[in-house]
């Protein structure tokens, strides 16, 4: 029975290969999966693609497939499993270790224009054995957005920030009591880490983490500064005093009816720090047009196009990382804010936690942290519980 099935599988896989092989010569088409469906984003992407096609007549089509951000990696993986891998794909920072280490991506360093000027801290996540496997097209530091109508004295430390936000809401728009990795924007200030740099040791039970999470718990349930689970407060509509969010969100404040400013993350007990979120774009090794795809990626991310993309996605090219250049594409943010939050943030920032098998870790940690989001939670024992749960997962890799 199983031999018959194996045969059938082989036949199916062979069939897949046959039907696709005709595309190798002649006109080429490229498909890139993205998680944005935003008109302005897609317009820019299509403009860049049109320019490339004009210069390369053999490439007849470059298509951007919008997959909902929610479940993006899942859908992408399903397509790959089914034999329908895109030629290029946006990749979330949290899936970076999985994609880079699995060998699913083709090396691209040779195609990247002036690869030596990329900020090293920003490319680390996408490298293996000195080769680059995806281009970090968006590197977005976390900052503290402040509604200056509600907060007069700008906070410099976490204690000040929570005191100023008490009863007036300090929101973390992406957290939703699910995406725990966003909390790294806070706990780094205490010197805490989700896991050690080599990814083997759990960091949740450390003294630093316990202090940081006790602070967060108190800010939610005692100080009433951070809105509790299930409460929706929108900073960008003017309902909150402060928000911890990525700089790329500043665009949502274009029509803001309140005064606002952008500050670097407040100082924690361990002083200054910065945390960044990233997105990379890579070429799938299994693409029939991997060569062409890598070539397009080189064009997509060259200095000129990076400058265009910078209006939505903060760049990692040193030549673009100065307040003057960034100010051109980010009219909403003042040059000194760009310097302190974006430029300093990108050069000294740590990327949000990511690990091989990230999605399983995500779900496990999310579930293990759930008991923490109650007023009477025992922070220390919950965090010990997180480590107990994820230890086998960290050791597996």
């Amino acid at each position: 029975m199983s031999r018959l099935l194996a045969l059938l599988c082989t036949a199916l896989i062979a069939l897949t290969a046959c039907s696709g092989s005709s595309a190798q010569s002649g006109p080429k088409t490229l498909r890139m999966t993205v998680w944005t469906a935003n008109e302005a984003h897609l317009k820019l992407l299509n403009e860049i693609a049109a320019e490339y096609k004009a210069a390369h007549p053999d490439v007849t089509e470059i298509k951007f497939d919008s997959i909902p951000a929610d479940g993006y990696t899942t859908t992408l993986t399903t397509q790959i499993a089914g034999g329908n891998a895109p030629d290029l794909a946006w990749i979330l920072e949290e899936s970076a270790p999985d994609f880079v280490s699995s060998g699913a991506l083709a090396p691209i360093k040779a195609k990247v224009e002036k690869a030596e000027e990329l900020v090293p801290s920003a490319t680390k996540l996408w490298e293996k054995d000195g080769e680059l496997f995806a281009y970090p097209f968006s590197t977005s530091p976390f900052g503290l957005f402040v509604n200056t109508d509600l907060v007069k004295d700008l906070p410099a430390t976490w204690d000040e920030a929570v005191a100023a936000a008490a009863g007036k809401n300090l929101v973390l728009p992406d957290f939703k009591y699910q995406n725990w990795a966003v909390l790294s924007a806070i706990w780094r200030g205490w010197g805490a880490q989700a896991w050690s740099d080599d990814g083997k040791q759990c960091g949740f039970a450390s003294a630093e983490m316990k202090d940081a999470m006790t602070f967060v718990h108190k800010a939610i349930f005692t100080d009433k500064a951070i809105p509790g689970p299930g409460t929706t407060v929108d900073f960008f509509a003017g309902d909150a005093a402060m928000a911890i969010s990525q700089i790329s969100r500043a665009g949502a404040l274009k029509d803001a009816k309140f005064g606002w400013t952008l500050l670097p993350l407040p100082k924690g007990p361990k002083g200054d720090y910065a945390v960044i979120g990233q997105a990379g774009v890579g070429v799938l090794k299994r693409s029939k047009n991997a060569e062409t795809a890598a070539d397009f990626l080189g064009f997509f991310t060259n200095a000129a196009n990076s400058a265009k993309l910078a209006q939505f996605f903060p760049p990692v090219r040193q030549s673009l990382l100065n307040a003057d250049t960034l100010a051109k594409s980010n009219p909403l943010i003042k040059p000194e804010q760009l310097q302190s939050v974006v430029i300093d943030g990108i050069s000294k920032g740590v990327v949000k936690p990511s690990h091989q098998g990230q999605e399983e870790l995500n779900q496990t940690i999310r579930a293990a942290l759930d008991p923490l989001w109650k007023p009477d939670a025992d922070v220390s024992s919950v965090l010990d519980g997180v480590c107990a749960k994820i230890k086998p997962l960290l050791e597996r890799s």
Binding site: L5, L8, T74, D98, T232, E360
Partner: protein
């Protein structure tokens, strides 16, 4: 007189009539199911593109998987809660609508209407209404009840998922029960009344036995359906808080599609198939015991 006797022609027509369904089952059910069985014997790394035969390893893992045990417990609670609540409510509504009252058609329409609202829309709406400051707690507030944070408490999340699903689909069972109730001959009740049987006795001794075939059918459909509830969990709780609402189908989805363990996901699929098949078989076997006049 010829080869084509009536019987032979009849056979041919029979085969021709079932051919589309049969070929469809083969292509879209049995062969895919066989392939899932084959995947379950392999370690399939989707991203790396490796596919390796590992024999029964995934099945050993299945036996040792603590999360799977939690998930089976959650599944049992979910299925039990759903079936009991759904059938009770459906029967209650059907009995109420079977009274001689004006306007029952209107009420019937209202109770049935959620069946027609698209599932994603329905779940989306409830997700917003179940927030701590959402409409559900506002309504409870009118009655002086201080509602919990529904989707964040372990048992309240389970209750929420069940209730949302029951309200969505109870209309179907209600209609089936209503038709069955209307098929119960009125003279039986009259006779029982004369014998001095109260309303409750009449209900348990006459109504329930006479509509037992419908109870069987609806309970099979509802139980099998309860093991396939996916989108609601995905939108409302994502299996949380903790793992309290991670039912088997959601766990399967997580393993295969989110954690990229396709081989292990296939193994859970096989388990799910076995459970559904066994449950259906047991119910079908039991029908002779508790269903009156099964032909």
């Amino acid at each position: 007189m010829t080869f084509w006797t009536y019987r032979r022609r009849d056979n041919l027509v029979g085969y021709l009539f079932v051919a589309p369904a049969l070929l469809g089952s083969l292509a879209f059910v049995l062969i895919p199911l066989g392939m899932v069985g084959w995947y379950s014997l392999n370690e399939w790394n989707v991203l790396g593109g490796t596919f390796e035969f590992i024999g029964g390893e995934n099945y050993q893992r299945l036996l040792a998987d603590e999360k799977l045990r939690d998930s089976l417990v959650a599944t049992a609670w979910f299925a039990a809660g759903l079936v009991v609540l759904n059938l009770t409510l459906a029967l209650l509504l059907a009995v109420l609508l079977n009274q001689k009252l004006r306007g029952t058609t209107l009420f019937r329409t209202l109770f049935f209407s959620p069946v027609l609202v698209s599932l994603v829309a329905w779940t989306l709406v409830w997700q917003l209404m179940l927030q701590p400051e959402g409409s559900v707690n506002d309504l409870l507030g009118l009655a002086g009840v201080d509602g919990p944070n529904w989707l964040r408490g372990e048992s309240s999340a389970m209750v929420s998922v069940i209730v949302v699903q029951v309200i969505k689909n109870v209309g179907l069972n209600m209609v089936l029960f209503l038709a069955a109730l209307q098929g119960v001959p009125a003279p039986l009740y009259e006779a029982a009344k004369i014998d001095g049987a109260g309303a409750w006795t009449r209900f348990t001794r006459i109504t329930i036995p006479l509509i037992s075939p419908t109870i069987l059918l609806t309970s099979i459909i509802t139980i099998v359906g309860s093991l396939q509830v996916f989108a609601q969990i995905a939108v409302l709780t994502q299996g949380g808080p903790g793992t309290s609402t991670t039912v088997l189908i959601y766990y399967l989805y997580q393993q295969a599609f989110q954690f990229h363990h396709f081989g292990y996901g296939a193994t859970i699929s096989v388990l799910l198939f076995v459970i559904v098949a066994a449950l259906t078989l047991v119910q079908w076997r039991m029908r002779r015991k508790w269903v009156l006049h099964e032909s």
